[in-house]
Symmetry: C2
Amino acid sequence: MTQPSAVGGLASSVAGHEVTVDLGLRSYAVAVGSGILTSVGPRLQGLGFQGRCAIVTNDRVAPLYGPAVLASLRSAGLDPIVIEIPDGEAQKNLTMLSTIYDRLLAAGLDRSSVIIALGGGVVGDLAGFAAATYLRGIAFVQLPTTLLAQVDAAIGGKTGVNHPRGKNLLGAFHQPRFVLADVETCATLPRREFLAGMAEVVKYGVIRDAALFHDIATHSDAILAQDRDRLVAVVAACVRHKAAVVASDEYERSGARAVLNFGHTVGHGVEALTDYTRYLHGEAVAIGMVAAARVSQALGACGADVVASIDGLLRRLGLPTELPVPRAALVAAMTSDKKSTSGRIRFVAVETIGRTRLVDLSATEIVDHL
Amino acid sequence: MTQPSAVGGLASSVAGHEVTVDLGLRSYAVAVGSGILTSVGPRLQGLGFQGRCAIVTNDRVAPLYGPAVLASLRSAGLDPIVIEIPDGEAQKNLTMLSTIYDRLLAAGLDRSSVIIALGGGVVGDLAGFAAATYLRGIAFVQLPTTLLAQVDAAIGGKTGVNHPRGKNLLGAFHQPRFVLADVETCATLPRREFLAGMAEVVKYGVIRDAALFHDIATHSDAILAQDRDRLVAVVAACVRHKAAVVASDEYERSGARAVLNFGHTVGHGVEALTDYTRYLHGEAVAIGMVAAARVSQALGACGADVVASIDGLLRRLGLPTELPVPRAALVAAMTSDKKSTSGRIRFVAVETIGRTRLVDLSATEIVDHL
């Protein structure tokens, strides 16, 4: 399947952006800007929320942005509790979910309440899954504070937790009521995490947007320096792509959403084989994207130039691109991924920068082409 | 809100019935009949399911119906595992859900797999919640083997588990692909459980169907003797009502679905105050329905004759109707119910047999009117 670019390049506007994820009754806005985190209270008030609510956050983000978000909620007449969890992927499990349920019930949140996810992907996935399943589903909003969450995890309604057998194996689709992507929060991100987020930014360029890809290459210094206007434009471009893909395939059924997994098949395998400790998700995806490009080349889907330009841009952004594990070990690691259907993997191959196609391959065939 | 009867009385047909729950893309059939349990395999095959699947059942039902269901699935080319849990409401918790996840993953069920719930409400709620959240949602079907589950729990997509703070506090809406209500399974039900199921049957009469109510009264001996044709007709009538209510309010938002809670506000309170051990759910609902009728009379919504006829029919069916707990204790027990919104309870009052209205009351006001 070919995925042409529908919404390309960086927007020229410098002010904030508002992108709609068009899902009928479940449609919502993703606001992208600088310093917009404190609009959360008035926005919730505008949607009619009042009384008890819960902020789910972690112990790294809470001291940085908790006070401002709390003040915004209180000034809008809301009465928040704060559920603070330890930072890190290790928290994304059923035990922590159960702890969150306990806190929500103890605080008396009811069906009209809202949960505010303030943090990265782990916080968003956990808080979203709790919202999806508390009293059979209550409202939640996403305040992503990592670049990765802003361009990917916070948008699209995927929520869930990990299982010892694999990541994100338990979860639900549950769309947020809105998302506030405030790029100012990138300033407090560890450098390595910011760069890992850039891997997913590059991914949107590869799968849907040659202009974005080349803009990132041209302006990589400004982006790495976190120039605010440049960053808002980059994040907004990614959000538009994510919104368009999600709107066309909310439940990952038609195959349209599968394109977002570019680089993730091998990336997940690399993460699993290195115990999820050596690489950040974005770093593993960077490795996976170059691997996917190599497989695409071996399949005759693209030329060596495509592999080289993906590899080159990722290296310029300080990301790893070399496969750090034996090819043979990858086969088993990839087949345990939930995206497999009856042993076949829906592999996203790149044809040229900005265009992909889906190929059904076995894990062995993927590794053979690496 | 007035709830007139849309589909009334017992159908005259003796053969099986097929009722559609009309929910757009999530529509499904509820087959009601005698000896239809073994149609599960061919029906799943007809929907395109193949390979690995999982039966979730309990240790009381498994020896009775497990072999026939297994044979039906295998003859249709499916490869089932059996997840057998101990019988009883105490199993409906996050720990058992986690155990089910482990088994599903170990057996390699993927996104194209189906879960078959074979048992009563506990099995259906647990299996349905597992299906709702395994790999962010896979297909499931309901094979309810209790009268209560056949007329109520198996239809409508409510799934979930209990929490120490209350019943069904964690869960999701997830519709089955079809439901097979085989009244032959009622023959192996403990007598007390069958009668408890009749309480929910009477409820449909009270809230939507005067003809059904009077038919039950007229033919109570045949029904209590489990005359097959009579039972099929009664269950089918209830299923039609449940289907109509669910179709008009899938997510319990408009208030239409709230009518199904007739008798449940006080009923849940009674269950909670007696530690969920003294009464079966249907028995508590029987007590709750008479209590609700008394409150309705005190509010001027109905006359004493309505209270007397509900009380009389339930007694004839061998069900309890006297409030066994102090009125004062009920207040706290009812306010912890998740159906409360900001302290108010949406109370279903009866106007006449077959017609109800919703009244917003506090728990104190309900108890004051008892």
